[in-house]
């Protein structure tokens, strides 16, 4: 049994709204989890008021793998610092000396917490360094990712355990969290799809669009555009996160404008809310909402009753 250790809890960044909660529209649906309405991953009810460090910050749930790592500002800021050759070498040596002393101690996790860095990212650094030593060449990204997803593949048993420990204890990064984000994103897409079906709005989803060879695909393209608050909408993108300045700019650049460039104006639903000031591109053709709008106007009809 591992002796309990106490390391000061790192500063947690909490978002204004609770990620991971699907707030279904107030109508027929009730919050799905019967037992708990709230399941923040950094505050699982299981753990109660544990004083054990988790290295948690809030994360933003993201559907697409490519977007899973919308890095937290803090981590982003310090990212470079942890990736200098000296830093990596120091960490690795500390890790080595740590596991030599006691392979079962949470060496890596403690190290990450101590230097205020995400545990799974620390695990990645060490794993990379380790493989480099083993194979004398920088390992490919896909190999590393695969090992992080399934630490059993790591040739060194002790390291495998250390890495695994980091991953399950990280609430912002890592494959497990990435997967949760993806799941949340997907769940909201499903929700949106149901809402569209319910309102008889026919659409093409991402898979259909990709099959047709579209190069950029929003979640849904409406086959017949609708109007919302006087604005035309051709497509709807679901974002299961809170729309803050930083992530919204990134989305605008990588996704929303690209959609506009191809399909015209559209709607983004930030299910966890957004900073109101960001909704400034309405005239230009990008609307923001935090729920599925109830007052859509369709072609040849008046208001669609929900």
């Amino acid at each position: 049994m591992v002796p309990p250790i106490s390391i000061p809890r790192p500063v947690a960044f909490r978002a204004a709204s609770a990620p991971g909660v699907i707030s279904l529209p107030s109508d027929s649906r009730s919050p799905p989890p019967p037992s708990r309405a709230k399941h923040d991953i950094d505050q699982g009810p299981v753990r109660g008021d544990s004083s054990v460090p988790r290295g948690c910050a809030t994360y933003q749930a993201e559907p697409e793998e490519a977007e899973t790592e919308v890095p937290q500002k803090h981590i982003k800021r310090t990212h470079a610092k942890h990736h200098t050759a000296e830093a990596i070498e120091t960490y690795y040596q500390r890790y080595l000396s740590g596991v030599v002393k006691d392979g079962t101690a949470p060496v890596l996790l403690e190290l990450a917490n101590e230097v205020d860095y995400a545990p799974s990212l620390m695990a990645r650094i060490i794993l990379e360094r380790f493989l480099q030593e083993q194979e004398e060449s920088p390992p490919s990204k896909s190999v590393i990712n695969s090992m992080l997803r399934d630490p059993s593949q790591i040739p060194d048993g002790v390291l495998a355990n250390q890495v695994y420990q980091c991953i399950v204890n990280d609430c912002c990064y890592g494959p497990l969290v990435g997967c949760i984000k993806h799941a949340i994103g997907h769940e909201h897409e499903v929700l949106l799809r149901d809402l569209l079906l319910e309102r008889n709005l026919s659409f093409l989803d991402e898979d259909q669009l990709r099959a047709k060879g579209y190069d950029k695909t929003p979640d849904f393209i409406l086959e017949v555009p609708v109007a919302l608050e006087g604005h035309i909408i051709h497509w709807i993108e679901s974002k299961a996160s809170f729309g803050d300045e930083c992530s919204h700019q990134a989305y605008l650049h990588d996704q929303f404008w690209s959609y506009w460039n191809r399909f015209g104006p559209g709607l983004v639903i930030y299910w966890y809310g957004f900073i109101e000031e960001l909704d400034c591109n309405r005239e230009r053709g990008i609307l923001l909402k935090d729920c599925f709008p109830t007052d859509l106007v369709t072609l040849g009809q008046s208001i669609v009753q929900p």
């Binding site: 309990p4 299981v46 988790r54 769940e187």
Partner: protein, 1226 residues
């Protein structure tokens, strides 16, 4: 040259003869031999007469119009006068013309403290110094170019010869730019310096009139003026005798005028502004300038004015002047003169020189009189102007006063007119929609090219948006702001050789933004294959309105009646983009693409005019025509811009040698677009109204050398011939419609003012050859004879016509400080989809019969049939794709699945397999033709029946159906037989590669996975929630943790129960979530087996009861077995890491693992062999000695068990080997 004019003024030659002489040369005047004789010696000067006349008029009006220094240093070099003196045609011509559009060499004293009213029209089009065109008209615009460059319209830069002109014009010294202020600075000029004053009450004028003697009004000048201005000759001769017949009615009109005036006098309210009358000379420029009243009774030398007016009008009517609207503008300026600069007495001495020595316009009354006379002759044109202009004209009190008849006619014309030129909202910025047909991966050579283009597309719009946001900010510079981004984009495109794709996007975006008002641009051009909903409803009216408002609030620079080619609004972006990109590849592709599109649109058969339902069709026809024409003009403008871009320079080649060498060089280069042939064809097919306007746009960008090239010289000559032949008064059935002509005259007149177009081209070329006439014999009813042009289109194409209205309006408002105008921007009203082009048939007799069938049917029938054929043919192909090909693809996929198994053993490459598969399947493609025909036969008639009117006779209907079906089949089969194999191959490949890429058992399962039972209300916990929960448990198990931390056993049970619900509901489950859940559950099982899950019992953290652990494992087993639809990574249970968990446990618990392994085998989740392999490989890991031994024992124990599942299960349950047993056995 002045000799002619003088001869005219001396009545030696009648105006009529003079004009005929001008048009046709000596033979034209045969019927008046004496007069012809008088003119004969002047023959060499014939061509110079018109420029001389125009200059003369402008010169004469300087005191009225220019607001420059009060008295130009008009030093008449009287001695130089040598009437009819031979001079070199070139020399004098140039000399004359050079002040036809004089350079504003005069310091702009006049404009001090005044806003430049006409700023450079629309912002220079080149980087070089901007040149203003039509400076003379633009009023004040010269100010902008002082010392800058020669004026635009000014053209006539004396090339080569600076010899003093010996002609009678010389005394005026018009060639001396220093001495003469710009002539044209009138309209904004006078307006500019006047404060808004009230509208002038016409009654005042009438009141004044009553004081004068109406009888003498037209026979003698006002007394005060008489001594100076009336040449004795004229005094003696009756003024009306020599007038052409048409003018004799003037007398009647004047009589009417008098009556009218008399009536007004008695009915009108008291003159409100009579006080103003006396306040004539404005004390200062900034002071208010009330227009001087004009009085028909005070005209100084009517006969002279009348003569000149007649000659002038005739020149206009015969298209001898370079620009009709420029002259109209000039005349309206005269009409709206506010003040006359008082001519010094010396200048008025009649004794000096001939009749030309005396100013033609001695006072405002003269100006107005002359203007009204000319306007009377131009009624035909005036009456076709837009309603707003007509209203202003009809309400002009001077006009009423000088010619009530004309006023009456104008009023009537106004009342009849429906030609409202509306100010429409411009289209919203809309992106070109993504079209899979041209934009998807299949259209690119490589993945990289595809992705590069994807990125560049976004960069393009990013740049566009930034431009939109910032281009109006002061200090923002396109090149600085966006140049680098655009160039890096270009280099990206070059590397990926995707220029053609980008150019297509660029061109479509250009058309969409700059041509179409409704936002349906793509469709309007018939290029979108299917109605494109995306672009149908994109209007963001509010934003547009706002921008429009801004545009109205910020006055646009008045660009005068001859604005230089500009790129207003969005066009500016595209122009600057091309400039900043400065990419050869891009420009080349752009030229190719623009040329192609121009040809395509130019050749578009516009529907013939259908007499049956006039209004609808006419409207439609016009709309179509306008849409095509505007697109063509836009494309041609950009083509011209790009084509001549490399040769542009602010100045012409400085020496003759340089010019000649440039000519020799460039005569070798073939033109990018064969505009000459297109023009000839256009004329032949009576499509000039379509071809010429865009050609003019193209040519407006010529550089200085281009018009001298043999090729373009022919183009210009042809255009000039056309211009001369478009006599507005000649209207007949077979000829061009009036407004069509007017449009051509307007655009050509504008073109001839472009400074790079050499002046001699216009005046020195021989007029009116009959070459063009021959073509009119043809029976074909071309576009020219159809009323396709309306005022809206006219004003859209020639916004400078709107200057007339502005001029009149500024007269009315009296305030022209904002060089105000009502017509700021005219956007076309209409764009509709063009009927898709019908496929051309050439199937011998049948085709001929079909043609004959249509011949006697209404054209709409043909359109319908062709439309149906085109659509059905196209749909047929799609139908085949969706049914027949899709079936084949499915077959291919299933065959592939079969073969994949074999292949894995054989190790064959998937590529070969694919080829083999295609070879098997493709031959079946031939059946597609039969199916396609069937489809057409079924669908064609239905569509035809729906679309044709009900009264269509059954026979006609049947024939129409047959033809439609035939055409559709022809089209579909042609496509299918050529492409079906390739299509099948492509589709199969795409499908197969999709399968291969996503290979894995899970994909196959994906199809059946989705969906839970109908009754399900999807209340199961969300997958994300579960993963998160399990993750917490795992984290607890892995540690580190507080001693008191743990998980309640019931919680674990609940968790697994929730997991089951989620897996059964599946509503929110996606592949990745499920895989993760599977993995997490396996990890959880491992921790359970290793007894590593700390529980939270009443006394504190403990281990799970073994029974509880088994229960949980049991649940997990059944979840894996029954509920998971993705493969569960069960082998992880036996991974060294998870088994290693056991090693840390003291005492070690093997029974749970054994229990689990048995469960796995019993449920068929893992085979014994598989487990055996895993166990064996476990031995290879470095374990502590004792652990290895225990592991070996476990293996033996497990492997020794009987393999019969049924009983063993029970045995297992029954056995429940205590921990001790296992250990004992080890």
């Amino acid at each position: 040259m002045a000799a002619v004019l003088e001869a005219l003024l001396r009545e030696e030659v009648t105006a009529e003869v003079a004009v005929r002489w001008l048009v046709c040369g000596a033979q034209g005047a045969e019927d008046a031999p004496e007069e012809a004789a008088a003119l004969a010696p002047l023959e060499p000067l014939r061509k110079e007469f018109v420029p001389f006349l125009l200059n003369f008029l402008r010169e004469q009006s300087t005191c009225a119009l220019p607001q420059g220094p009060p008295t130009p240093a008009k030093a008449p070099r009287a001695s130089a006068e040598r009437p009819g003196g031979p001079s070199t045609a070139r020399g004098s011509g140039r000399g004359v013309r050079s002040q036809l559009f004089p350079a504003p060499a005069e310091p702009p004293a006049a404009s001090l403290g005044e806003p430049p009213l006409a700023r450079r029209g629309g912002g220079g089009r080149r980087r070089g110094p901007v040149r203003e065109r039509g400076g003379r008209g633009a009023g004040g615009s010269e100010e902008g170019e002082i010392g800058d460059s020669p004026p635009w319209g000014g053209g006539w830069r004396p090339r080569g010869s600076n010899s003093p002109s010996p002609s009678p014009a010389e005394p005026l010294n018009l060639s001396n730019l220093e001495e003469f202020p710009p002539v044209g600075s009138v309209p904004p000029g006078p307006a500019g310096r006047m404060k808004p004053s009230r509208r002038i009450n016409p009654t005042r004028v009438s009141a004044e009139r009553s004081l004068s003697k109406p009888k003498t009004c037209f026979t003698s000048p006002p007394i005060s003026q008489a001594p100076n201005s009336q040449p004795p000759v004229l005094d003696n001769s009756p003024w009306g005798l020599d007038l052409p017949v048409g003018c004799s009615s003037l007398q009647e009109e004047r009589a009417m005028l008098r009556k009218e005036r008399f009536k007004l006098l008695h009915h009108s309210p008291t003159p409100a502004s009579s006080a103003l009358e006396s306040g004539l000379p404005a004390p200062s420029r900034t002071g208010s300038l009330t227009p001087e009243p004009a009085d028909p009774g005070k005209v100084s030398c009517q006969p002279r004015l009348e003569l000149v007016a007649i000659v002038y009008s005739s020149c206009i009517a015969e298209n001898l002047v370079p620009s009709l609207f420029l002259e109209l503008f000039f005349v309206l300026q005269l009409l709206t003169v506010r003040r006359m600069i008082h001519v010094e007495k010396d200048d008025l001495e009649p004794s000096l020189g001939g009749p030309l020595k005396r100013p033609l316009f001695q006072n405002i009354h003269d100006c107005v009189f002359f203007a009204v006379l000319v306007l009377e002759h131009q009624f035909q044109v005036l009456s076709r102007l837009d309603k707003g202009t007509l209203k202003l004209l009809a309400e002009n009190e001077r006009l009423l006063c000088f010619s009530p008849t004309l006023q009456g006619r104008l009023r009537k014309a106004y009342e009849r007119s429906t030609a409202k030129v509306s100010l429409l909202l411009s289209p919203p910025a809309q992106a070109v929609s993504f079209q899979p047909e041209t934009d998807n991966r299949a259209n690119f050579s490589s993945d990289r090219a595809f992705h590069t283009f994807k990125k560049q597309r976004d960069v393009f719009y990013e740049v566009l948006r930034e431009w939109e946001d910032r281009h109006e900010e002061p200090g923002w510079d396109f090149e600085k702001g966006l140049g680098n981004r655009i160039r890096s984009m270009m280099s990206q495109l070059s590397t990926a050789s995707s220029h053609s794709h980008f150019v297509r996007l660029f061109q479509k975006q250009l058309l969409q933004m700059c041509q179409s008002p409704s936002g349906a641009g793509g469709m309007a051009l018939g290029e979108a294959p299917d109605p494109d909903v995306l672009s149908m409803l994109g209007a963001d009216k509010l934003g547009r309105l706002r921008r429009l408002q801004e545009r109205l609030v910020a006055p646009q620079s008045g660009s005068g009646p001859c604005p230089p080619p500009t790129f207003p609004g969005w066009q500016g972006f595209f122009r600057d983009f091309i400039l900043s990109a400065s990419s050869f590849q891009f420009n080349q592709h752009l030229m190719d693409s623009l040329s192609l599109k121009i040809r395509e649109l130019n050749d578009l058969p516009l529907p013939q005019h259908e007499p049956s339902d006039e209004d609808v069709d006419r409207q439609d026809e016009r709309r179509q025509f306008a849409s095509v024409l505007l697109s063509l003009r836009l494309l041609a403008k950009f083509l011209g811009f790009v084509v001549f871009l490399p040769y542009q320079s602010p100045e012409p080649p400085p020496t003759r040698e340089l010019q000649d060498s440039a000519l020799a060089l460039r005569n070798q280069v073939p033109p990018v677009l064969d505009v000459l042939t297109l023009l000839q064809q256009g004329l032949q097919n009576h499509q000039a109204v379509l071809t010429v306007p865009w050609l003019v746009e193209f040519l407006s960008f010529v550089d200085h050398v281009a018009p001298l090239l043999d090729y373009y010289h022919s183009v210009f000559s042809l255009l000039l011939q056309l211009y001369r032949s478009l006599i507005l008064s000649e209207e007949s059935e077979r000829r061009m419609c009036f407004l069509n002509k007017l449009l051509l005259l307007a655009v050509l007149g504008w073109l001839f003012q472009i400074p790079t177009v050499p002046e001699d081209l216009f005046f020195l070329a021989e007029g009116r050859p009959d070459a063009l006439e021959g073509a009119t014999v043809s029976l074909v009813q071309g576009l020219d004879t159809m009323p396709v042009v309306d005022q809206q289109l006219l004003y859209t194409c020639c916004p400078f016509i709107g200057e007339l209205r502005k001029l009149l309006a500024s007269w009315v408002s009296g305030s022209s400080g904002r060089s105000g105008g009502f017509v700021r921007k005219i956007t076309p009203t209409s764009t509709t989809a063009l009927g898709p082009q019908a496929p051309k048939t050439s199937q011998g007799l049948q085709a001929e019969l079909a043609q004959a069938f249509f011949h006697n049917q209404p054209p709409s029938l043909r359109r319908t049939v062709e439309f149906v054929a085109e659509r059905i043919g196209s749909n047929c192909v799609k139908h085949i794709k969706a049914t027949f090909v899709a079936d084949l693809v499915r077959q291919a996929e299933s065959r592939l699945q079969e073969q994949l198994g074999e292949q894995q053993e054989e190790g064959g490459a998937p590529a070969q397999l694919l080829e083999a598969l295609c070879d098997q399947i493709c031959p079946e493609g031939t059946q597609a033709l039969a199916q396609g025909r069937e489809f057409c036969r079924k669908k064609g008639p239905e569509a035809v029946r729906v679309l044709l009117p009900e009264e269509t006779s059954p026979a006609v209907l049947r024939s129409a159906e047959d033809i439609a079906v035939g055409l559709a089949m022809e089209k579909a089969c042609a496509w299918l037989s050529a492409n079906i194999t390739a299509l099948i191959r492509r589709e199969v490949k795409a499908a197969v590669s999709r399968t291969l890429r996503a290979q894995g058992p899970d994909v196959a399962a994906q199809g059946e996975r989705r969906g839970c039972s109908r009754a399900c209300e999807h209340h199961a916990p969300l997958p994300s929630h579960l993963i998160s929960e399990i993750k917490d448990v795992l984290a607890l198990a892995v540690g580190p943790r507080d001693p008191e931390e743990g998980v309640a056993p019931e919680h674990l049970e609940t968790l697994l129960q929730q997991l089951r619900e989620t897996l059964q509901c599946r509503q929110f489950l996606c592949l990745i979530s499920e895989q993760q859940l599977a993995k997490c559950s396996v990890e959880l099982a491992s921790f359970l087996v290793a007894d590593q899950v700390p529980t939270l019992g009443p006394p504190g953290p403990q281990r799970l009861e073994r029974g509880e652990a088994r229960g949980l494992l049991q649940t997990l087993l059944s979840l894996w077995h029954e509920d998971f639809q993705v493969p569960v990574p069960l082998q992880l249970l036996l991974s060294p890491r998870n088994v290693g968990l056991l090693a840390d446990t003291r005492p070690r618990e093997w029974d749970l693992l054994l229990f689990l392994l048995r469960g796995l085998v019993d449920r068929g989740l893992m085979g014994r062999v598989e487990i055996e392999t895993c166990l064996k490989s476990l031995h290879q890991a470095p374990w502590p000695e004792d652990f290895s031994e225990e592991l070996a024992t476990l293996s033996c124990l497990f492997l020794a068990e009987p393999q019969v599942p049924g009983p063993r299960l029970r045995a297992c349950e029954l056995m429940r080997p205590p921990r001790g047993t296992v250990l004992a056995q080890s």
